[in-house]
C-alpha cells in the first residue's frame, strides 16, 4: 500500500465540498452516510441518467415482472432528498477529471470543483456487434428494463445472449410471464465465473424445468431482423433462435474511459487502498463497481459488482471522509443474491476453481433445503443457500472465520431432521 507523509497531511483536513460522480446506490448511500455522520459541507451528486436515482437489482426481478413500479425502486424518497441537501445534477455525464485543478467536467459544460471527490460511476455492459440491431438491448438502465417488460407484455419471446445473472434472471421472469425464453451461453455452462459446476447445473435444471431453452457452447455469430418483424440470433454452429426481443448480457466493464487522461491508476477499475482512497490520490475515493480495492489477505486489487459491497464501502468511505484521523479499512466476505424461477439464492464468499463443491441436502421440519459449501483444506470458505435465508447469517459467520467443514455439517445435523452430504 502506498502512502506518504504529504498524503497523510492532506487527508486529515476535513473537506468543505464533496463531489460524487455516479447517482448509483453507492453514490446515494455515500451522500446519506456523509449527512448522518455529521458532514455539513456542500455535496454535489452527478448522474448521467435523466430521472431520480434508482436501485438496479429490482430491474431484472420485481420491476420486470411488474410487481414494483419506477417510483418504488427509487433510492430515496422525496422527503429524504429534501433532508439530504444534495445538489443533484441529472443528465450530466462526467467526461474529464483534472486532479491538479480539482475539477470534474461534464459533457453539458458543467464544471464542478471539489475538495473531496468520490467516484461511484459504476460499470457499463460489454458491447457486441449486434448492439445496434433494433430489438436488441442491454439490460442496465431503467429504460432497458421498461423496453423488455413492455415487449414481454406484448407477447414477444425473449432470447438472452449471455448465461450470467442478468440473462438467467430475465429468462426466469419471461417464463413467469408466459413467453418463450432462450438462454444462449458461449461457455460450456451457465454462470461459469460465479458458481461451481454442480450449482451451475442445478440452476440449468431449474431453467429446463420452467421451460427455458438453454443453449451452452453456443457463441453467437450475428443477430438479424427478420422480414416477419422478429429477430433471429445465429450461433456459430448454425443454430437459429427466433425471438421478439434480444437481451445482450455478456458482462460489464468498469466505467473508467473518462478517467484516461486523469492520471489515476486504472487497471480493471480504479485502484484503491483498503480504505477506499485512490492509490496516490488521498482526496479521491472510489466505491461500487468502479472500485478495485486492495485486499490485504490476497495482496491483490479486487473488484466486485455486488450491491451489498457497494453500500458497505460507501459507508466506510463516508466515515473516512468525515473522520480522516480515524480511517478504517473495508473488509467483509462478499455477498450477493439472485432469484431464479422463484428460488431465492444467496451466496456468501466467492467461487474458485480450486474449491471443493459440496452439496448438503437438509430436511427440516417443513421442507427440503439445499446448502452448497465451498471447501478448501477442510475449511468452509464460501457457501450458497437456496431458499433458506434464515441460515444465511450463520453461513456468513462460518465463511468469515473459515469454519471447519465437519463442524458446519454437525451444526446442520443439529438443526435438521436429516442431512445428506454429497
Amino acid at each position: 500500500m502506498s502512502s506518504s507523509s504529504s498524503h497523510t497531511e492532506a487527508s486529515t483536513t476535513l473537506p468543505s465540498k464533496v463531489v460524487v460522480v455516479g447517482a448509483s446506490v453507492a453514490g446515494v448511500r455515500l451522500c446519506q452516510t456523509l449527512r448522518s455522520s455529521g458532514f455539513t459541507g456542500e455535496i454535489a451528486l452527478v448522474g448521467d441518467e435523466a430521472g431520480m436515482p434508482y436501485d438496479r437489482p429490482p430491474l431484472s426481478k420485481e420491476f420486470l415482472v411488474g410487481e414494483r413500479s419506477c417510483a418504488e425502486i427509487g433510492l430515496a424518497g422525496q422527503q429524504d432528498w429534501a433532508g439530504l441537501a444534495v445538489t443533484y445534477h441529472a443528465c450530466s455525464k462526467a467526461v474529464r477529471l483534472d486532479t491538479v485543478r480539482r475539477v470534474v467536467e461534464c459533457e453539458t459544460g458543467l464544471v464542478l470543483a471539489y475538495d473531496a471527490l468520490v467516484l461511484a460511476c459504476g460499470s457499463r455492459p460489454v458491447s457486441a456487434p449486434w448492439d445496434n440491431v433494433a430489438g436488441v438491448t442491454w439490460f442496465r438502465r431503467i429504460e432497458d428494463a421498461v423496453f423488455v417488460r413492455d415487449q414481454i407484455a406484448a407477447g414477444c419471446d425473449v432470447a438472452c445472449i449471455g448465461g450470467g445473472f442478468i440473462g438467467s434472471e430475465v429468462v426466469s421472469i419471461a417464463r413467469k410471464r408466459g413467453v418463450d425464453a432462450t438462454l444462449i451461453e458461449a461457455q460450456p455452462r451457465l454462470l461459469n465465473k460465479a458458481l461451481g459446476p454442480r450449482l451451475s447445473n442445478f440452476i440449468r435444471d431449474l431453467h429446463l424445468a420452467a421451460g427455458v431453452t438453454v443453449l451452452c457452447n453456443t457463441p453467437v455469430a450475428s443477430v438479424a431482423e427478420e422480414a416477419s418483424g422478429g429477430l433471429v440470433v445465429s450461433g456459430v454452429n448454425g443454430e437459429q433462435i427466433h425471438a421478439g426481443v434480444v437481451v445482450s448480457g455478456i458482462g460489464v466493464r468498469p466505467s473508467t474511459e473518462w478517467l484516461n487522461s486523469s492520471g489515476l491508476p486504472v487497471e480493471n477499475g480504479v485502484l484503491c487502498e483498503a480504505d477506499g482512497s485512490v492509490v496516490g490520490f488521498p482526496e479521491i475515493h472510489a466505491i461500487g463497481d468502479v472500485a478495485a480495492l486492495f485486499d490485504p489477505v490476497s495482496h491483490q486489487y479486487v473488484r466486485y459488482e455486488h450491491w451489498t459491497r457497494a453500500v458497505e464501502v460507501a459507508s466506510v468511505v463516508a466515515h473516512n471522509i468525515v473522520r480522516p484521523a480515524q480511517k478504517t479499512a473495508y473488509s467483509a466476505v462478499p455477498f450477493f443474491w439472485t432469484w431464479q424461477h422463484g428460488h431465492f439464492i444467496q451466496m456468501v464468499g466467492k467461487w474458485e476453481d480450486r474449491y471443493e463443491e459440496v452439496f448438503v441436502n437438509c430436511r427440516t421440519q417443513n421442507d427440503e433445503k439445499l446448502i452448497v459449501l465451498y471447501v478448501e483444506a477442510d475449511a468452509v470458505v464460501s457457501a450458497v443457500a437456496v431458499a433458506w435465508p434464515a441460515l444465511v447469517p450463520w453461513l456468513r459467520n462460518a465463511c468469515a472465520k473459515r469454519a471447519s467443514f465437519p463442524g458446519c455439517v454437525d451444526h446442520l445435523h443439529q438443526i435438521c431432521r436429516q442431512v445428506v452430504v454429497s
Binding site: 448511500r29 446519506q32 452516510t33 448522518s36 455522520s37 436501485d55 437489482p57 450491491w307 451489498t308 453500500v311 458497505e312 459507508s315 467483509a332 455477498f335 443474491w337 431465492f344 444467496q346 433458506w388 435465508p389 434464515a390 444465511v392 447469517p393 456468513r396
Partner: protein, 66 residues
C-alpha cells in the same frame, strides 16, 4: 431513536443482521426480528442507520417516537 421493520417488505436478505447483530435477528421463517427497537448510544444509532441503508428492500425505518 426507534427502529422498526416492515415484514411485508422484508425478504430475508440479512444485511441488517450482518451490520447490526445486536439489534436484529433472523427468524426461522426468514424474516427479520428487531430484538432491540430502542437505540440510544451513538454507536448503536450509527449501526442502525447503516443497517437501514443496507436493506435491499427498504424494509427498515427509524423514528423518534415508538
Amino acid at each position: 431513536m426507534y427502529v422498526r421493520a416492515d415484514l411485508n417488505k422484508c425478504m430475508g436478505y440479512g444485511n441488517c443482521v450482518a451490520t447490526a447483530p445486536e439489534i436484529f435477528r433472523m427468524r426461522d421463517d426468514g424474516k427479520v426480528e428487531v430484538i432491540k427497537p430502542a437505540v440510544e448510544t451513538e454507536g448503536d444509532i450509527a449501526m442502525v442507520l447503516a443497517a437501514v441503508r443496507s436493506c435491499p428492500t427498504s424494509a427498515l425505518s427509524t423514528s423518534n417516537d415508538k
